[in-house]
Structure formats: structure tokens, C-alpha cells
Amino acid sequence: MLKSMRALTVLAPLCGLISAQPTPRPSFLDRARIQHGDSVVTVTANAPLPLFQAIFAVRLEYGWQINFESAPCYSPFDVVDDTAPKWRAAHPNEKGVTRPAGGLFTGTFPEPKEASDPKAERLALSTLVEEYNATDNPGRYVLRVDSDGQFTVVGTEVKDESGALKQISPLLDTPLTLAKAPRSVYDTIKSILGALESATGSRVLFAATSSSLFRTTQTTTGGERVPARELLKQALANTNRTIQYDLSFDPDVPVYVLSLSPAMREENDGTGGRRLVPANASTREP
């Protein structure tokens, strides 16, 4: 079977890969750690995308719905070699792969008195983003508070080939025109991603491993020159679930990947284990 991605891999712009230096594969944390002090929460992440790992942990700690759009890092100042030694040994002359050059990140924010308080959530997230931007980790981010009160952490700056920070236009800012017509949420998302590719040339894969909800929910999402982000959230709102999205970027292919997950809170199950509790949808003031 012809695998289009394989062809893409060969033809893809190298995006600084040639100068990406092999580095020892560090050991990262599987998940960020959260510690509660007297009045301060400390999040310790150690990952190629440490801000995302920190946000993932905060989501589960408080049941917050937080969208995340990775900064599309590509230059050797933002990515490092990630080629597995075993694969390299078997493919000595082939192009390797990279990962974001992130590592340790420790952030602190005031302990929210009420997890459901949007002001506390906003303060926590804006503090984390500000602290992250002060580190050498790749990408610069902003916290956006959307008109519906949802919080979205958006990558807005990456380093270019000279190592200088440059502004980027977030992919989901792209205005799209989508006909208002009854479709499933799944088909609507695919239409949005298809329109994005047509408008920008950037391919976006939809990575949902449990997709029945999106196939069974109907929507009439559409509009003229509406930011892709808005169309996506309009479609997801029809599920009546607190679905959050993550948009990541793989510079090796290159390709964006969109994944979805319900907002959940993780808590002790009373027997030494952990269990998930659905986060309740709440109306937020922007």
C-alpha cells in the first residue's frame, strides 16, 4: 500500500534537521508533578514540551478545560535530534527525527481557593505561561480567554534559523469559510481541517482514538471568514461535553495533529489508586 506519509517524509523540507545535533536521550518525566504548599502550587515538568506536560497535569488536578496549541518549532535552536539509537544503527544513512528541545520547567501559581473559579484558573494559567516564557524552553506562548470563557494556551513565537525569536501566525487563527449545513461533528472537524490545508498548505491530521461521540453528534457549524478555532469550538460545543483540544506540530513530516479529550479531574479512589471524574461544564464569564 502506498503510504503518502512516507513520501511526505522524504520530500519534506528539512527544517533545520541537518544541523540538529545528536544528543543523548534524556530521561523525562512521564507526567508533571504537582505539589501543594501553604498557598502556592508548584508544577514540575520535564519533557520535550514541558509547558504542555504542565498544563496536562493542571487539567487533571483541577478538572479544568484548557485548549493547547503548540508553537510550531522547527529550527535547530528549538529542536534536537531524537533518533532512537536502535533505529539509527539500522538506518545509518537516513534522515533522523527531532523533538522539541525542552526539558525541566518548574512553575508556581497561587493555590485556587475554588477550582471552579475562572479568575483563579486564569491567574494560574497566565502565571504558568509567563514563567515558562522566561525560561530557555522552546516556543513562547500566550493565554487567550475566548469569548465563551474557554482558556486556550497558544504558541505565538518560535526561534528562526538564526536563533532569533519570530512571531508566527497561529494556524487556528486562519479565517475559513464553511457552509452551514447539517453534518456530524466528525465530518465538520474533517471539513475544517481540509479547509485549513487548502488555505495554508499545512496538513492537519485528526487523532481521535474514541470517536463515536463526534460521529453521532450533529451540528450545523459554519460561517464566512471565521477563525478555524471558532469553528472547531462551535462544532465541539454541540457534543454538550467539555471537550478540549490539543494541536501539536511534528516538524519532521511536517504535519500538525489535532487531538481531543474530555476535561476530567483525577482524584484518589480511596484504595490507594486514582480515578477519573468528569469535569462539569460551566458557564464562564470571559
Partner: protein, 364 residues
Amino acid sequence: MFHNSEWRADSTHNQIMAVTNTGQKPTNALVTLHYDNGEKSYEMQQTIQPGDQMFVNIANLIRNRVPDRKGNTLPADASFGTYDLRDLSPGLGSLMQGNLTLDSTFGFNAKPPYPACCPNLAPAWEVDEFEVLVNGDYGDPIEATDACTGGQVNISNLFNDWSSGNPSIATVTNTAVTGVSPGTTTANASGWVLEDGCVTVPVNLTNPVKVENAPSGEITEFVGTILITQGQFLMTLEPSTTSYDNHSVTESSPVLGTNACWWSTSGMVQYPVVQGDTWVVDQGGSAEHNQYGKDTIGFESGVVNLIQTQGAAHGVEFPCAINIHQSMNYDGIDLYVTNLLTQTVGSSTVTVCRAGVCSSTIPF
């Protein structure tokens, strides 16, 4: 119940309240004084013998720092507020209240302000029929419209006789209807309610009760693939002797899953969970009697292709598996089964499974 009447006690005002038990049995009166704009309250509870009275001199309570039933005292600067009077004893209310307000602002003046009577209109259970599962509970508060506020109030405490038409099918208490065995019966409650005209009248409520068995499990059937690498499944609830048609089943993830195909720029979720879909039994798609579906599992071909082309270089070992835990709840309440959903990606094959039922090996 009388409520939201005003009281005032300061250098030129006082209020003396008399609560009389006009009934034939001792009764329990609760007078609650609200102050500080209603944010705080002071509660006096007293058993009143037939024909006896409970007197409340508000200025005296303030001046002498008399503690209430919770040990609280009225602050020395408390001067006005509202009060409620409730008869805590079950059955016919037998309290009668009279007031004397004293006003010396412009010379002595005394008048008896009568408190507002707040009937409970249209008492009823909040549902027309109780549908409960065997061993399941359904909260059954009796509510009525408070004629003073227009809001719904819980008046279950005014009902003292709760019964089931058939206790072998369901039991009925003042807090819940509980399913015992499959069948139908009635829930009954009797009490005394203050109705329009401030007359206490007997009220008897009866509601039908339907008790059903929750599913004991389900049979999963693989029905095909979509977008090459996703599996679709149809489920049949068991036992087949019970009809579950038109009821709902909802998925959730009790714990985080695992994704051995993941790497940091893959964009896949590292700890996958189900999205929380709800299906109605015997509705939609190819679902027939006692069936629901389809449940679509697995990444579509674009993502599987990404795994196969990029994963190995990132250190992913093939075959790699994505595992998701899925709990199934019947009618949003009863957990009847927990499944493992998997998608296993080889270098040129894919397999999708639900609850141990798998697709054939999909070449890709």
C-alpha cells in the same frame, strides 16, 4: 409555616410574640429570627403542651444575651429583621401565633401585626412515575409552590406516612424509592399541608413505580472497519429476557489509558480516554432490539500511517498498543461492565479490539 414577617427591637420599639398550641397533643415549635440582612439566624425551639403558649420577648433576648438552641446570642446592636415560625411535629399543624409590637416613638402605641401565612400550593412528587433499577434508589422529595416566594420548596417533612403498594417490588421512605425486584407498584405518602386560605388539609399522594433489572452485561460484535484502521462494534445488552429499548448507555473512562505508540511530537494523546458518548438502545444505525452502537475505536489511517512511518525512529517498538478503559453505565447510573478498548499497530498491520472481540488483522 409562617415566614418572612418583620420584627423590630430598639430604644423605641419591641415585639412580644405568643405562640399557642391549639391542638390536642404536645407540639414542637421553632421560631427563627433572621438578622444582619438575613445572613444570620437565631433559633428557639420549644415543646408546647396543648393549650400552652411560648412567649418570645425580642428586646429581652437581646438585652439578656439569651443563647439560642445552638448557643448563639443576638448581638447587642441587632434591631430589626424577619422571623419564621415552623411546627416541627408531624401531622396537623396546631400552632397559632399572635404578636404585640410596642412603638414609643411618638408616645405609646401597641398593635398586633399578623404574620404572613405562606401556603404550600400543588404538593406533588417531582416526577409522574418512579423508574428505578433493582437495588437502585430514586430520591423522592415532595415539593410545593411557596405562595409567598413563588419558589419550589421541599415539604417532605410534612408527610408522616410513606408506603409501597408492594414492598417486594419497591420500598418507599421519606428519602427514596428503592427497587427490590422487577415489576410495577405504587408509592404512597400522606401528610398535612397548609393550603390556600391558610387551612391545613390532609393530602394523599400516589405515584406509579416501575422497577427494572439493569443489564448484567453485553455481547460485543465486530461489524466492520471505517477509514481503514478504525473498528466499529455493535453491542447487545443482556439478559435478553429484559427489554432495554429506548434506554441509554453512556461510556466513561474510570482511569487513564496508555499509548505505547506515542512520542512527544506525535500529537496523539499520551493517556487516552473515551470521549463520553451516549447511545440509545434500539435506536440509530443498525441497532436492533436491545442493541446499541456503533462504537468506533482506533485512530484513522492518517495517524496510523504517522505511527508507522515516524514511530520507529522515535523509539516506538512494533507492535505498539493503545489501551483505553471504558466503563458502561445504564441510564446514567448503573455501572454494568468495564471494557478494555485496544488498537494494536504493527509495522504493516492494525488490529482493533473491544472487550476482547477483535477485528481480523487489517493489512495497512
